[in-house]
């Protein structure tokens, strides 16, 4: 297929936002890209891995986001163009390096691409990366569609090289995961050479030391770089205005909110009264451009998602400009026209515009249909929570953990972490997991809980983490727990890949991002070397797993590690390969009369095993079952039969 890598200059293609960003990186002549996977940012790097060979790139999945940013920065210091991308939480991980990086400055162009998730479509927070641009005092760009997502990458890298600092391009889920029509640009044929020049005077930006010191003068230089960026921003092609010369209402917006605003204005039919100033360069705000537009309208509606960052920046600027432009009336978050949480959509923006203009929106038009459809959906669309896939080893692992904690009977609990296994917390899980926060926090919290025996706490403390999470952030917490003799059991749910984001490799595997053979770091050996007692089981062997875990809980001295190793059901190696043929023997399953309380379908709840209402018995759903065979071990009557496939 003509894909985003091979597509020729001028071709019109349908690209997902993250593909467009990857194409933009190729058109910018990037050499190095590094990241840790995280939705919705993952596909930026994943796509670049596909282009690595043909375009002579170095692309890696790093052990965490901070390391990834450091890898990308090294390329910049050696004169190459580089990028790093991450989900919003990943930007937190980079923060310590980022705030020093922006003081030391960069050489080759470097762009950092956080992808935010307003509404937490695929996250457990909806924090704002834009705040970091302000904190780190670096320029911020926000594309509104796939075309801009592509075009902004070369622009950002040029800007980065001009001001000698890192530039942020912020995406959101609705951009990163939206396909749009993109016209491709040219990919340069260059062969950049890397060299780290460091023998000039210490403060020489091209040949000196790379350091934030002397801090105050570097800080001053950093702020001058921002002013330099403003010169470009004042005439940036990414800032556009559509509307009447002097609109009754001026909408100032950015990112995908521009598309919501445009459509809302069109729907309300107020194109002759409302103008839209779309900003692609949102920090710092270009004052002369703002002066021009504020001067032509008295009423401003700022449309942005979650926090009122642009709104507050604009208000501050409007105060400075007031002697020239007059006092303005602002609408947005502060007056409640738009919510400060969650994502926006066309309807919300239309309602806000209608309210400000004192106009009717069409929202009442479908009242009776909506009421009836909602009624039918309430009755006819059963809730569908996220759940472990058919054949998921985590279901088996957490099943055993829950059983063992019940058998142990001391009210033990699990501190959870970031990965598919977090679903244990939801309605579709087993509920052994009681906390969830950041990558690695499960084991950090466990380390703390495990020291509370002195205050009378008698509950067994467990943490779980995935194999990729182990390398990302669990290791320091584990070291802490071992060194401080915290009494905990750390269960590593090793499914041989960064599964939740689509199975990217990690340091525990023998393969890197582009498929080269590399040394694997052995989790068991690492834990043993740190000083923990280490056990290993296959979670699909429930007898051994439960016996081992009970034994570990009984030992109340220091850190125990249990590695439950079984490959993810969705992994390319395993997908569509059934180990067993499963069937429910109807003469043995006696349904509700059994006394098992429908253990298989009411409690275990694998989507591949369903309850046949009419026959009053369990049944395998052939379209969904992947043949892992685990359910055969849970039926107390042995009605679920498994036959090994040859």
């Amino acid at each position: 297929m003509a894909n985003f890598i091979e597509g020729e200059t001028g071709t019109r293609m349908l690209l997902v936002g993250n593909e467009a960003i990857a194409r933009g990186a190729l058109e910018a002549g990037i050499s190095v890209a590094a990241a840790y996977p995280g939705t919705p940012a993952t596909e930026i790097i994943e796509n670049l891995t596909k282009a690595a060979k043909a375009h002579h790139l170095y692309v890696e999945w790093s052990s965490n986001e901070k390391v990834a940013m450091e890898v990308a920065a090294a390329a910049s210091y050696a004169g190459l163009r580089s990028l790093t991308a991450m989900k919003q939480c990943g930007l937190n991980v980079t923060a310590d390096f980022l705030v020093h990086l922006c003081l030391s400055g960069t050489r080759g162009g470097m762009v950092v691409i956080p992808c935010d998730d307003p509404g937490a479509v695929a996250s457990i927070n909806e924090e704002e990366s834009r705040v970091f641009a302000r904190l780190a005092e670096i320029p911020l760009l926000e594309p509104s569609d796939a075309q801009e997502a592509k075009d902004m990458i070369p622009y950002a890298l040029e800007l980065s090289e001009e001001i000698h600092n890192v530039v942020m391009v912020r995406s959101v889920t609705r951009l990163s995961h939206t396909s749009g029509t993109v016209i491709l640009g040219e990919i340069p044929r260059a062969d950049p050479k890397a060299q780290f020049k460091c023998s000039g005077p210490p403060l020489d930006p091209e040949d000196g030391l790379i350091m934030p010191m002397p801090v105050v003068s570097k800080h001053e230089m950093q702020q001058r770089k921002l002013e330099q960026a403003l010169v470009r921003f004042e005439k940036s092609p990414f800032n556009t205005y559509v509307g009447p010369h002097a609109p009754q209402l001026l909408i100032v917006t950015s990112s995908v909110c521009y598309l919501y605003s445009k459509e809302a204005v069109q729907r309300l039919g107020v194109q002759d009264r409302v103008g839209i100033l779309k900003l692609g360069t949102t920090f710092p705000l270009p004052p002369r451009l703002m002066e021009k537009h504020l001067g032509l309208s008295d009423r401003i509606l700022v449309v942005e998602e979650t926090l009122p960052l642009m709104e507050n920046n604009l208000k501050a600027l409007a105060m400075d400009l007031a002697p020239k432009t007059g006092i303005k009336i602002f609408h947005g978050k502060a007056d409640g026209a738009l919510p400060k949480v969650g994502e926006l959509n066309v309807d919300m923006v239309a309602r806000a515009i209608a309210k400000v203009l004192g106009k009717e929106d069409r929202s009442a038009a479908f009242d009776s249909y909506r009421k009836r459809a909602q009624q039918i959906a309430a009755e006819g669309a059963p809730a569908r929570p996220l759940t472990f896939c058919p054949g998921c080893p985590h279901r088996a692992s957490l099943w055993s953990i829950r059983l063992v904690l019940e058998m142990d009977n001391r009210n033990g609990f699990v501190c959870g972490d970031i990965g598919c296994y977090a679903m244990d917390l939801f309605g579709s899980g087993f509920g052994a997991t009681k906390t969830i926060h950041a990558m690695g926090s499960g084991t950090g919290l466990a380390s703390g809980f495990g020291k509370l025996a002195a205050f009378g706490m008698t509950q067994p403390v467990l943490s779980v983490c995935g194999d990729s999470t182990f390398f990302h952030a669990v290791m320091p917490a584990l070291v802490n727990a071992i060194h401080n003799k915290s009494n905990i059991t750390v269960v590593v749910l090793d499914n041989s890949g960064t599964a939740m984001t689509g199975f990217q490799p990690h340091p525990g595997l023998k393969v890197d991002a582009v498929g080269n053979e590399v040394p694997a770091v052995d989790i068991a050996a690492v834990c043993a070397a740190m000083g923990a007692r280490v056990e290993m089981c296959d979670p699909f062997d429930p007898v051994k797993t439960q016996k081992t875990l009970l034994d570990l809980l009984d030992e109340d001295d220091g850190v125990k590690v249990l590695i439950l190793k079984q490959i993810c059901a969705l992994s390319p190696e395993k997908k569509s390969k059934k180990a067993y043929d499963l069937r429910v023997e109807e003469s043995i399953c006696i349904g509700e009369a059994c006394g098992c309380n429908r253990l298989c379908t009411r409690i275990f709840r694998c989507p591949g095993l369903i309850w046949d209402e009419d026959r009053g018995k369990a049944r395998i759903d052939e379209a969904l079952c992947v043949g892992c065979g685990f359910c055969a071990s849970i039926c107390p009557r042995g009605a679920i039969e498994r036959k090994e496939r040859s």
């Binding site: 995961h177 939206t178 459509e263 009836r372 569908r384 996220l386 989507p607 309850w611």
Partner: protein
């Protein structure tokens, strides 16, 4: 850019389904087919953690002129392709309207709450009468069952794409499908996919029967 003439501009098509059903691929195939007609296509998709059995929908916005926002406004869908019937009701409750057309797969996917008995999956007759009530026109296709006869449930989505082409709402034709297929699929998969597409089209002509 000015592409083929549309019955509505933008034309809003939603594909409703469950994580793992191949929603994303189906929407991209449709998008590529429409792109070939010179149309501007925007597809907003909810994926990510949603591979794990949750509700998934793709919002396809088709225009002869400009890029639209990634989500269809409330109650503004022109057509819905339901890979799963109960998910189709969920979508209609937010995006449906009396004019909407629906093509719906009959194969149920039970959510964990249905499996556990906490929720009931509606009876087939109920599903049909509700769908008729909530749409201007609807077609029920045994797409998954027919696909399994072709060798794999994944062809069910191609059957539904063939059906969407046959209802004549959008400039989707067999030639464009073939061209997109030759770019996206291995050559040995060509024949079976074309067969699935044709089967979907013929099912519309025969009122949902294979």
């Amino acid at each position: 850019m000015s592409g083929a003439k549309l019955t509505s501009d933008p034309y809003n098509l939603i594909i409703a389904g469950v994580g793992g059903q191949g929603n994303v691929l189906a929407s991209r195939i449709l998008g590529q087919m429409l792109l070939r007609k010179g149309l501007v296509v925007t597809i907003g998709e909810s994926f990510g953690a949603n591979q794990r059995g949750g509700s998934v929908s793709s919002h396809i916005r088709i225009s002869s002129e400009s890029t639209y926002s990634p989500l269809v406004p409330y109650h503004a869908a022109h057509a819905v392709i339901g890979l799963e019937a109960t998910e189709t009701f969920r979508i209609l409750s937010e995006y449906g309207n009396p004019e909407v057309k629906v093509i719906c797969n009959t194969r149920p996917i039970h959510s964990v709450y249905v499996i556990s008995g906490e929720c009931k999956y509606p009876k087939t007759e109920k599903i049909r009468s509700w769908m008729e009530e909530l749409s201007a026109q609807c077609w029920f296709l045994d797409a998954t069952d027919e696909a399994m006869k072709l060798g794999s449930p994944v062809y069910g989505n191609i059957i539904l794409i063939g059906a969407m082409a046959a209802i004549g709402e959008l400039p989707l034709d067999r030639e464009a499908f073939k061209a997109v297929l030759s770019e996206t699929m291995a050559p040995d998969k060509m024949e079976v996919n074309l067969k699935a597409f044709d089967l979907g089209s013929s099912m519309i002509r025969t009122g949902g029967l294979a």
